[in-house]
């Protein structure tokens, strides 16, 4: 069947009947949320177990079950590999891995797939595991990719039933209260696990820093936690930046950032109370900086800035340029220090900021957001998941949630990455539909979604270089022979869910080249 974007979607995938994407806000949830089994812990009962193996056995984890993790340590995470190694030692097979995201550090997962310990993955895959699956490494079922909000929704809705949630906790007490912003190796908020911890049949808090009761802030609460395990190493906070926080020095990228900031200024949204998403990644970071400078210059006091938290946002908070930061994850150690010290730097969870099936998201309160893309197309659709060679290499992150919510969603991209065109006729994979993208800013000009004539007029009268997206594409294409195109087979290797749980696209296996 074809969904509303014309993408060919199988009706049934791995036994699951798919709902086709209908539109950014087309669906209305029905029924009631899922729930976990009842349980009681009585006074005097002890939750602390001696090892991961002991916790795995106590949890009742068995073949074919689902285990979950957060990704707040990003490329410094140690827990996913440690738990899978323990599962392998215990002879467990056929597990479904349900992390919020995997990073290059999780390359050992590939060995566990080959050995049959892991047979299914639902979660973002950044790097080698995605490449392995793209290149024919077999999972029993296609991978499922969801946005931050989409994953939260899927757990609440019961689309994914977690058997055991493992929560890497930089600091915890023996009763299971846990935080990510304190301890020996703070990684930033661990609220990505909050839904897992509340809905999993069993929740295991794993810490390397056990402190006297009570640990606060309790991003993870005692009432959700079944067991507590203390191990030596859960992650390396030195890697949370994952290389996305360098302010770009490239003149072309700086030009894009300046144009994006100028577009915000011209949009009419940049007034007192202005609230925005400050992204990571070179261009977004620079654009955020330029907007901050403009606000300081013009004496505009912003509302809230949404993280991933960075030193840049923290500086804006301390300068009084924004009133509040809402943070679901930390991208550097400055953000973590600020979360501890500044009462206006607030921890949020993905349910608060991004969940479609809820009574309102923080992203709906955003005026503007800067987001990236691997590809964009003439209909303003955005791909962040696959490369032009069809390889599945990145997760969705909060892309869909932010783009759907912000009044002004700006995609900042260069037109060419080496010989690779970024503006294409039709994206390899749709992550985020053009319906929710307002503006694409490139070094060759600004393309405005035809739905936003108001912005087009404002930009033009501010002297911004507004152009048709097709014209920008033509300029870039003149400099390169078009790249060869992959030929996709029928086999689906991954499902891309829109944030409401509908199928916005699938990734098929590459079987050859045109």
């Amino acid at each position: 069947m074809r969904n509303a974007l014309g993408r060919e979607i199988p009706e049934v995938l791995a036994g699951r009947t798919l709902r086709p994407y209908e539109g950014a806000f087309a669906t209305t949830p029905t029924g009631r949320k899922a729930s976990r089994p009842q349980k009681v812990v009585r006074p005097g009962e002890d939750k602390v177990l001696a090892s991961l193996e002991a916790a795995i056995e106590a949890s009742g984890l068995s073949d074919g079950m689902t285990i979950s993790f957060h990704h707040s340590f990003r490329d410094g995470d140690r827990l996913v590999n440690a738990v899978l190694d323990a599962c392998a030692r215990l002879g467990l097979k056929d597990l479904r891995l349900f992390p919020t995201a995997l990073f290059p550090v999780h390359e050992p997962v590939i060995e566990h797939i080959k050995a049959g310990v892991v047979s299914r993955i639902e979660g973002s895959m950044n790097g080698p595991v995605g490449a392995f699956i793209s290149q024919g490494g077999r999972l029993r079922e296609p991978a499922v990719l969801r946005s931050h909000g989409g994953r939260w929704r899927a757990v609440e809705a019961g689309d994914v039933a977690i058997d055991v949630a493992f929560v890497a906790a930089p600091q915890a007490d023996a009763y299971g209260n846990a935080t990510g912003i304190a301890g020996k190796t703070p990684c930033g908020p661990i609220t990505f696990s909050a839904v897992d911890a509340q809905y999993a049949d069993k929740t295991v808090v794993v810490t390397n820093d056990l402190q006297p009761y009570p640990v606060y802030p309790f991003e993870i609460q005692q009432g959700w936690a079944d067991y507590v395990v203390v191990i030596d190493e859960i992650g390396d906070p030195g890697s949370i930046a994952s290389g996305t926080l360098e302010l770009t020095r490239s003149p072309a990228r700086l030009r894009i950032a300046r144009l994006a900031a100028a577009a915000v200024k011209a949009s009419g949204y940049l007034v007192d109370g202005f609230s925005f998403q400050g992204g990571a990644g070179g261009i977004s970071l620079a654009a955020t900086m330029f907007v901050g400078q403009e606000m300081a210059r013009a004496g505009i006091v912003g509302g809230f800035a949404m993280g991933g938290g960075t030193k840049l946002l923290v500086d804006l908070l301390h300068q009084g340029v924004v009133r509040t930061i809402l943070d679901g994850q930390a991208f550097d150690l400055d953000a973590i220090a600020s979360l501890r010290a500044d009462p206006q730097h607030l921890i949020m969870d993905p349910g608060l900021y991004a969940n479609y099936d809820s009574r309102g998201c923080s992203t709906y309160r955003l005026d503007a957001a800067f987001l990236g893309a691997t590809e964009v197309d003439l209909d303003f659709n955005v791909n962040v998941n696959t490369h032009s060679d069809g390889q599945l290499l990145h997760g969705i992150g909060g892309h869909q949630d932010v783009a759907a919510g912000a009044k002004l969603t700006i995609i900042t991209v260069p037109t060419l990455r080496g010989r690779l065109p970024v503006i294409v006729d039709r994206v390899t994979t749709v992550t985020t539909p053009g319906e929710v993208i307002d503006v694409i800013v490139t070094e060759r000009g600004i393309a405005v979604n035809p739905r936003r004539q108001d912005l087009r007029e404002r930009f033009a009268s501010a002297g911004l270089p507004v152009r048709e997206i097709g014209e920008i594409k033509k300029d870039a294409d003149r400099l390169i022979r078009p790249p060869s195109r992959p030929v996709f087979g029928d086999e689906v290797i991954a499902l891309i869910e829109w944030r409401d749980g509908t199928a916005i696209d699938v990734v098929r296996k590459v079987i050859g080249w045109e």
Binding site: P251, R255, S388, D389, R419, P465, L479, I480, R481, P483
Partner: protein, 387 residues
């Protein structure tokens, strides 16, 4: 790579092309994501070989080079292996250079560095100066000429200049190659006498005729960067109708004099260059400011140059364009005042009065002419407010 001749590099945005055998044609392409890019690269290579009229074995290691870069590297490698192969003559449509274009900034770009050349035309500089002189090491000059030619042919520039090497030191070879790409103008470094400019003009005339370019279409910008050059500013500025302006080069000038680069040390030279330009009715362009991080210093030096009568300045990084443009563009206040002066003059003329007064002060002729010039400049610059 074992090869008889190579061109290019393994830097980002470049490719390294080697001629491995001039007898047996073959092509070996190495690239990241060769499935995506291999066929496109091969197509560029074979088309380039066809234009050169040769068949030989090549090896290409790509680092994300655009088509014109690949073509340039192939041509340079082939001609290095077989020097008698004639140069490619790309088809280029270009308007002739205009003497009085606005040139608040001329952005220098090193002629052999594809990473820094890609998109150089997008930053809004009034003109681009593709450099074959100081920023290109001697061994790379042959391939840099070819690269600049292909860049000129591939990209639309609002105005593109090439800084050649001095005549007698590679300048003739530079001209023969880059004129095939039809730059708007040629920048002559270390100009010291009117004859230097005339020699360049004659060489240009020969090459223009050979290339089917309208004679005189190519402009000249001599750079005065020695004691001799500055002293002879007047004869250089008036040496030839091709001269659109003269530029001052402070680094070489202070080195030549054994002077330090202070405001005072440069004051006479800059004033002299500005006056010589005015005498010949050509533009005066100021030296570059080397410290990219120091925006305040850049603005101060540009402001001095403007006050001395210069109409623009060299820049070495796109970040310098915005500040320099602001200095050399009339401000809102200047435009408003100029409009008032012109209106007062028109009113006086309507009343048949010879004397123009505004705010109780006489407006004499130079003041009126300056106001008219500001309004003309403002109109030509149009709206460029987003920066």
């Amino acid at each position: 790579m074992s090869a008889q001749a190579t061109a290019g590099s393994l830097n980002k945005g470049d490719c390294l092309v080697g001629v491995t055998d001039i007898e047996a044609p073959s092509l070996d392409v190495k690239a990241d994501h060769v499935e995506l890019f291999g066929a496109g690269i091969a197509a560029v290579v074979s088309e380039t070989l066809e234009r050169l009229g040769v068949h030989m074995a090549l090896r290409v290691e790509d680092q994300g080079a655009l088509d014109y870069v690949i073509a340039a590297r192939v041509e340079a490698a082939v001609r290095s292996a077989r020097p008698r192969v004639p140069a490619i003559r790309p088809a280029v449509e270009r308007e002739s250079g205009l003497h009085d274009r606005i040139r608040r900034t001329r952005l220098y770009a090193p002629g052999n560095n594809p990473r820094l050349l890609v998109g150089i035309e997008l930053h809004g500089a009034d003109c681009i100066l593709l450099d074959l002189e100081d920023s290109v090491p001697p061994a790379e000059k042959p391939s840099a000429r070819v690269l600049v030619k292909h860049l000129l042919a591939a990209v639309e520039f609002s105005e593109a200049w090439v800084r050649i090497n001095p005549l007698g030191a590679g300048g003739e070879e530079d001209l023969a190659e880059v004129l095939l790409g039809r730059p708007h103008g040629v920048c002559l470094p270390k100009a010291e006498r009117a004859d230097d400019v005339r020699a360049l003009s004659e060489a240009l005339a020969r090459l223009e005729t050979a290339a089917g370019i309208e004679p005189g279409a190519t402009l000249v910008l001599p750079i005065l960067e020695s004691g001799k050059g500055v002293l002879h500013a007047e004869e250089i500025a008036g040496a030839d109708p091709r001269v659109a302006g003269i530029a001052f080069g402070a680094e070489d000038f202070t080195r030549d004099l054994g002077a330090r680069r202070t405001r005072d040390a440069l004051l006479w030279a800059r004033s002299h260059v500005a006056a010589a330009a005015a005498a010949a009715r050509v533009q005066a362009s100021d030296t570059v400011y080397a410290d990219v991080e120091d925006e305040a210093g850049l603005i101060a030096e540009a402001t001095e140059a403007r006050d001395l009568g210069f109409s623009g300045k060299g820049v070495i990084n796109p970040r310098q364009i915005g500040p320099v443009h602001r200095v050399f563009s009339p401000s809102e206040e200047e435009i408003t005042q100029a409009e008032r002066i012109v209106a007062a003059a028109a009113a006086a003329q309507a009343q048949g009065s010879g004397a123009v007064a505004l705010d109780g002060k006489m407006v004499d002729r130079p003041v009126l002419e300056r106001a008219q010039r500001i309004l003309r400049l403002a109109e030509r610059l149009g709206k460029e407010t987003w920066r």
